[in-house]
């Protein structure tokens, strides 16, 4: 078995997510690579929750879709996420004696193993069957007792010594039990030959790496309002930002959050906020203000199911239209998408640099899948980006006028910040002259609109616009953005093993759209699947509106392939899709 996927199901409060994290850490210290996805219902306690853990000898950035082993601590809310945990006849199922009534679709299965994890925990005076299960599975994965102990300590170190010691003894009992009640499935053996993960590797979520990227690129002010699934990015930053001399403000609402951020940005301090769809919608008026007043502003938007409150705890890519189009007036700005958990770091850094250099709004789209999934990965590369107001004005000479909104060739004007004598001006959301005086003249309006658009144009020439993974002689291509990229790459690999060559192109720069680069990627292609996790094919519509403007006589066939969350795309479904079409050639 090359790799293994374990689903852990329970109800909120049974600790399956904690179990998943501890298991991932113990497995990582045993040399496995892995990735953990968390899926929750909206309830804090008593709702459904599940963790899906994929382990293997090679770095894993995506989920395969198949479930090899299902461990159920509680069946009661299983139906609510049955769609996201596709059980097949080859899935091995182990349930706790206290898991309750089995879901109807499983009632006919006779191969379900029932083990008394809760009884085992209780016999030692603990209510935590999840810890007994941890010991049981970790032993099967050949994790040493020390590694399991360390993982338990890491998770519970804020609790009393007695609590930690009890949990460690429950885990040890679970491990002992594994020898008497074998799982009936071989653990992934490839790990023994592979070099595997080392203790230098990291265990991180996309939200944490986005926060790290922001701070390393120079963000020193954050204002935000709590919202799922962005809060944990903010919580991570709150614990770190003061150590680099910055501040994080919990604002009274998203309107305050974004305007506080603009205030700090106007003051020359690199600033950001983070939110999710409903918060981004509330911020849209102020986004126009940042654009018109040419104030650097970075917004990290961790997408969830929408519209309205939607599905707050689950992933979707449906804020594309809001991020790209969601503003009044002609409001050119930048939209980037993080393409993997690791890339959250790089893309946030790039966003911070663009916002400060071009004095504009940059929205970074991430989603619940990237933001809250946890991955074992090599230490993140050194941050290559830095916020810098490179166009900041030197104070003009005595008696000389200062033109804050000067119509320059690059479109970027000299930006003074408070404290610079001679640079005094009033930044304005009202249309203004080059001299920063409010103006309703058509000529000034057109000049400033041109300028604000022009300063973004050269971005499409950046090599960071996207990533291209080519295969020899490929005539088929998958075009995607965001969290779909790792899934598409896995599909590409599986297709290659089946003798089918497919290119995968991922966009990091969504707006302005790098049309020329995309057209170049399409040369020689016969079919391009445009993939995204939303109901309408929002990006695909946008793409077509841009391509129709260029010479499109030789365009390949564009095929829209989209679906709403939270049913994630799987590598296998892409393989089948491409095989079907590829075979028909």
């Amino acid at each position: 078995m090359r790799n293994l996927t374990i689903a852990l199901t329970g109800s909120g409060g049974t600790g399956v997510v904690a179990l998943g994290e501890m298991l991932l850490r113990a497995a990582g210290n045993t040399g496995y690579y892995g990735i953990l996805r968390k899926t929750f219902g909206p309830q804090i306690r008593g709702g459904e929750s599940a963790a899906i853990l994929r382990l293997g000898p090679q770095p894993l950035a995506s989920f395969g879709g198949e479930i090899d082993l299902l461990l159920a601590l509680d069946w009661s809310n299983f139906q609510r996420f049955a769609d996201e945990i596709p059980i097949s006849t080859s899935t091995l199922i182990i349930e706790d004696t206290a898991a309750g009534e089995r879901p109807t679709q499983l009632s006919a299965r006779d191969s379900i193993k029932t083990l008394d994890f809760s009884g085992l925990a209780q016999s030692l005076g603990s209510a935590h069957s999840n810890i007994a299960l941890l010991g049981y599975v970790a032993a099967w994965l050949n994790c040493s007792e020390e590694q399991v102990k360390a993982a338990v300590f890491q998770r519970l170190h804020k609790h009393s010594e007695e609590t930690v010691a009890l949990a460690q003894s429950v885990a040890a009992a679970g491990a002992q039990w594994q020898r008497n009640h074998p799982i009936g499935l071989s653990p992934p053996d490839a790990v023994k030959q592979a070099p595997g993960a080392t203790p230098e590797h990291w265990l991180a979520t996309g939200n944490q790496l986005a926060g790290l990227g922001a701070l390393e690129a120079g963000i020193r002010f954050v204002a935000a309002y709590p919202i799922t699934p962005a809060s944990d990015a903010l919580e991570w930053m709150a614990g770190k930002i003061e150590s680099v001399g910055g501040h994080l403000v919990q604002a009274e609402d998203e309107l305050a959050a974004v305007n506080m951020t603009i205030g700090a940005g106007y003051g020359g301090v690199p600033a950001m906020t983070a939110t999710s769809g409903p918060g981004l919608a509330l911020m849209s008026e102020a986004m126009g203000l940042a654009i018109a007043s040419e104030t650097p502003l970075v917004i990290l938007n961790v997408m969830r199911g929408g519209p309205s409150t939607g599905i707050p705890t689950k992933s979707e890519q449906s804020d594309f239209n809001l991020a790209v189009y969601g503003m009044h007036g002609d409001a050119p700005h930048v939209v980037l998408a993080a393409s993997s958990i690791a890339d959250c770091h790089f893309t946030m850094g790039w966003a911070v640099e663009i916002a400060s250099e071009r004095q504009t709004l940059v929205i970074v789209l991430s989603d619940q899948l990237l933001g809250q999934s946890m991955q074992i990965l090599p230490p993140t590369a050194t941050m290559p980006f830095k916020a810098s107001l490179t166009q900041a004005a030197l104070p003009p000479a005595e008696g000389e006028d200062y033109f804050r909104y000067l119509d320059t060739e690059s479109g970027v004007s000299p930006m003074a910040v408070p404290g610079q004598a001679g640079g005094e001006y009033t930044a304005d959301g009202l249309e203004h002259s080059q001299h920063a005086v409010p103006s309703a003249r058509a000529q000034d309006h057109e000049m400033q609109l041109d300028k604000r658009r022009r300063k973004l144009q050269s971005l499409v020439e950046s090599s960071h616009w996207g990533e291209v993974s080519r295969r020899d002689n490929a005539e088929l291509m998958i075009l995607c953005w965001g969290s779909l990229f790792p899934i598409a790459l896995e599909a590409q690999q599986r297709l290659q093993e089946r003798g089918l060559a497919v290119n995968v192109v991922n966009l990091r720069l969504l707006s302005p759209l790098p049309v020329v680069a995309l057209r170049n990627c399409m040369v020689g292609m016969t079919k391009v699947w445009v993939m995204e996790q939303n109901h309408q094919g929002q990006f695909d519509q946008y793409l077509r509106s841009h391509l129709s403007q260029s010479d499109c006589a030789d365009l390949p066939e564009l095929i829209r392939y989209c679906r709403s969350g939270p049913r994630l795309f799987t590598p296998m479904e892409i393989v089948e899709l491409v095989e079907k079409a590829g075979g028909a050639q």
């Binding site: 990582g28 991180a204 501040h247 309107l255 959050a257 230490p379 004598a421 005094e424 009033t426 409010p438």
Partner: protein, 268 residues
């Protein structure tokens, strides 16, 4: 070099109507700046939308003219990020108490070291004369509310007290010297200082020209919130002076800065 009040004017011509109270507020601000010998590059006036929110462009300092109702968050963000600056938010009664009402409450509570000046003329002037949160219940001059708003007006100073403001005062545009004195004190108060200014709109509320006859100075400044509440609830709305001054820790509180490696904590 000593800066005079008129040197704090930017030279941009105000859009205000003749007889507007805001001219006097502008004068009071420049007088207060002269008294403080405020360095122009270290001061930032932040405003929202409305007639009074145009004021930053008329002052020789830095300024930020944002969107409707959000002057306070912009000012707070700026002050937290750049604590050495003198940051003053200003605007009108609609901007501050209606669309921006939530920010007003939280700014009082948060106690960031900024001054907030509300030029209160009990009307939306820029949109041509609609009722605001401080308009009298029976004011029936707006086509939008032909019976009058029929809603009790806010008492901004009492609201500020209840929400935790640590400096509360009221001035009158008819007395720019008295207002300049209040602003001078407000700037030096550590924490959130709220200054309501009765600033008449002679265009939509010509009756406000009578305010100069009915405003009265009250020397009641206290640090006791109970005494201040008692005064403010019995107030006719035309008392002027500093009513409440009770400094408390300014946000953000100073914490010992612990150097930490940003990358710590990620290792397996």
């Amino acid at each position: 070099m000593i800066l005079k009040a008129k040197q704090y004017k930017s030279g941009v011509k105000p859009i205000w109507c003749p007889g507007c109270g805001h001219y006097s507020v502008l004068n009071a601000i420049t007088k207060a700046f002269a008294a403080l010998q405020q360095a122009p590059e270290q001061a930032v006036l932040v405003s929202g939308i409305g007639c009074s929110s145009r004021l930053p462009a008329y002052v020789h300092s830095y300024g930020f003219h944002g969107v409707h109702g959000r002057a306070l968050p912009v000012a707070a963000g700026l002050k937290v990020a750049r604590p050495e600056l003198n940051v003053m938010a200003l605007g009108g009664d609609g901007d501050g108490f209606s669309i921006g009402g939530n920010h007003f409450l939280h700014a009082c509570r948060r106690n960031v070291d900024i001054v907030y000046v509300v030029m209160d003329n009990e009307v939306y002037g820029m949109t041509k004369g609609q009722a605001s949160p401080t308009t009298p219940e029976n004011w029936d001059h707006s086509k939008l509310t032909p019976h009058g708003p029929e809603v009790r007006p806010f008492q901004p100073c009492a609201l500020a007290l209840a929400a935790g403001a640590s400096f509360i005062a009221r001035g009158h545009s008819g007395d720019p010297n008295g207002l300049a004195q209040i602003l001078y004190e407000a700037v030096q108060h550590p924490g959130f200082a709220f200054v309501q200014v009765l600033s008449q709109c002679v265009t939509f509320c010509p009756e406000q020209a009578q305010w100069k006859e009915i405003v009265h100075t009250e020397d009641v400044c206290t640090s006791d919130p109970v005494a201040a509440a008692s005064f403010l609830h019995g107030d006719d709305g035309f008392a002027k002076g500093i009513f409440y001054r009770n400094p408390r820790p300014v946000w953000p509180l100073a914490h010992e800065r612990k150097e930490a490696d940003l990358r710590e904590g990620f290792r397996l």
